[in-house]
Amino acid sequence: MSISYWRTRDRYYRIIGSICENCKSEFFPPVYTCSKCNSTDKSKIKDKEMPNQGIIISYTVLYEPMLGFEDEIPMQIALIQLNNGVRLVSQIVDCKIDDIAIGKNVKRVFRKIKSESKSGQIWYGYKFRLC
C-alpha cells in the first residue's frame, strides 16, 4: 500500500466524500471548496460516507486492461449515480457480461483492488455489484 493510498484509505474503503453544510451538496471525491455555493468554510465542509446504492448510467467492458489487471478480463467498468446524485466510476463484479445494463441498480461491495506482488501489500476498496 502506498503512502498516498494509506492517507486516503477511508475514501476507498467507505467512499468517504464531503457534504457542504451550507447548501447540503454532496461530493465524491472529497472537496475543500463547494462547487455549488462556493463555500470554502472548513467548518461547513464535512466528511460524509456516500450511499451504498445507485444505478448504472453507462458502462464499458475492457478486454485490454491496465497493467496489473490482466487476469480480470473481461473487466466491467461503470459510471454509477449514487442515491444522493453523486457520480463515480467503479468496477462491476459478480455478474455475467450479458447481465450488465444501463439503469440497473447496484450496491457497494468491499473487494481487493490489487496486490503489489505476492509478497507485497493488498489494496482494498469499493466496487459494485448488481442488486
Partner: protein
C-alpha cells in the same frame, strides 16, 4: 460457562460468495465422473478474501444491531491473507471503528465460535458493551484431495451486546473441550493442509463435539429434546447427522442449519453460518444448540435462546437462503484460475 450478566446477540449476517463449483466438476477431473459428498461449494471470486467477506458480513450485522459502539472486532480464520498483519484492523478501518480491541483468532474450523466465546466473556465481565465476532474462511484443499470437494468460502458475523432490550437471542451458556489431537494441520508457509483421513472422525470430530455438547447439557441440565434446533460443524454432510444421532438429536432439528450439501465447508464460518440460517427462521422461545469443531482439536458448544425482538429485526435483512440460491456456477478451469492454481 455462564456469564454473570446476560449477553445478547443483537445482530447477525452471513456472506456467501456468489460463485459455486459443482463437485461433479472436481470428480470429473480426478475420478472421471461422479461427485463429492456435497453437491456444490461456494468459491471466493478473484477479488474476495477473508477481509472482504468479513467486511460485508460485519457491515450488515452492525446495521441489524442498530449501529452500536463496538468495543471488540475479532476475526476467526485459518486463511488470513497476511501471515503477519492483522485482518481485524483492516475490517475495523473499513467499518469506521477505531476505539476497539482488534485481534485475529486461529483454531482451525472453530476460530469463529472462539471469537464469540471471548466476546461473550468480555461483555459478561463488563469490560465492553458490544463486540463483533467473525468466523470466516477461504478454505484450502489440495487439488485431487478429498478436501477439495468441500473446502469452500464464507463469512458469518455476530454482534454480541450487553444491551439486552435489543437482543434477538441470548447466550444461555457455552462450553469448550480441547485436546492435542493432530487430525488436520497446515505448517507455516505451506499452501494446503494435510489430514489423517479416517482419523479425523472418531478421535477428532466425534470425540470433541460429543464431549463439549455433553458438558453443556450437563451444565444447564438440559436434554436434546429441549432444543428446537441444533447446528453442528459441517465438514461434510454425513458427520453432523452422525454426531446428532449419537447425542440424541434428530435429523429434523438439524435440517434448517445443514448447509454443507449446497455450499461445502467454509471452515470457521461453517457452524456459524448454520446458526444464521437457523436464526433466519427461528421463533421467539426456540432453543438452539450450536457446536463447532476445530482440528488440533477442540469444540465449543453454545445454548442460545431466541427472543421476541427477532421478529422485528428480521424484517429488514436478506435471508441467508437468498444468498445460497442466488449463485453463478463455474467450471473447474475457472476455479483453478481463481484459486491461483492455474497461472499465466
Amino acid at each position: 460457562m455462564k456469564t454473570k450478566t446476560k449477553v445478547s446477540i443483537t445482530g447477525y449476517a452471513g456472506y456467501i460468495p456468489k460463485l459455486r463449483l459443482p463437485t461433479s466438476e472436481i470428480a470429473q477431473i480426478w475420478k472421471g465422473g461422479g461427485s463429492g459428498p456435497n453437491k456444490a461449494k461456494s468459491v471466493a471470486n478473484f477479488d474476495e478474501d477473508i477481509t472482504t467477506m468479513s467486511v460485508e458480513a460485519a457491515r450488515h450485522a452492525i446495521i441489524m444491531a442498530n449501529n452500536p459502539d463496538i468495543g471488540a472486532v475479532f476475526v476467526g480464520s485459518e486463511s488470513k491473507p497476511y501471515a503477519v498483519k492483522p485482518t481485524s484492523t483492516i475490517v475495523a478501518q473499513a467499518l469506521g471503528i477505531h476505539k476497539t480491541l482488534a485481534a485475529d483468532f486461529e483454531f482451525a474450523c472453530k476460530a469463529g465460535t472462539e471469537a464469540m466465546q471471548v466476546i461473550t466473556g468480555l461483555i459478561g465481565s463488563g469490560m465492553i458493551n458490544n463486540g463483533i465476532a467473525l468466523g470466516v474462511d477461504t478454505a484450502q484443499g489440495r487439488p485431487g484431495d478429498s478436501l477439495e470437494y468441500t473446502a469452500s468460502s464464507g463469512a458469518a458475523a455476530f454482534v454480541l451486546s450487553s444491551e439486552n432490550n435489543h437482543g434477538l437471542a441470548y447466550v444461555e451458556a457455552s462450553t469448550s473441550f480441547v485436546s492435542d489431537t493432530g487430525d488436520f494441520w497446515r505448517r507455516q508457509g505451506e499452501s494446503y493442509p494435510r489430514h489423517l483421513s479416517r482419523f479425523t472422525g472418531d478421535p477428532a470430530y466425534f470425540f470433541h463435539v460429543e464431549s463439549s455438547v455433553r458438558t453443556l447439557l450437563e451444565e444447564i441440565n438440559a436434554k436434546p429434546t429441549d432444543f428446537t434446533y441444533a447446528v453442528f460443524h459441517q465438514p461434510n454432510p454425513k458427520f453432523p447427522l452422525e454426531v446428532a444421532k449419537r447425542l440424541g438429536f434428530t435429523k429434523e432439528q438439524l435440517e434448517v442449519g445443514l448447509l454443507n450439501p449446497e455450499i461445502g465447508n467454509p471452515y470457521s464460518a461453517s457452524s456459524p453460518l448454520g446458526l444464521i440460517a437457523t436464526l433466519d427462521v427461528a421463533k421467539p422461545g426456540d432453543k438452539i444448540l450450536l457446536a463447532s469443531f476445530g482440528s488440533g482439536a477442540g469444540s465449543d458448544a453454545f445454548s442460545i435462546i431466541v427472543e421476541d425482538n427477532i421478529l422485528n429485526k428480521r424484517k429488514n435483512i436478506v435471508p441467508l437462503r437468498q444468498q445460497i440460491d442466488d449463485n453463478i456456477e463455474i467450471n473447474y478451469s475457472t476455479y483453478t484460475k481463481l484459486r491461483g492454481i492455474l497461472n499465466k
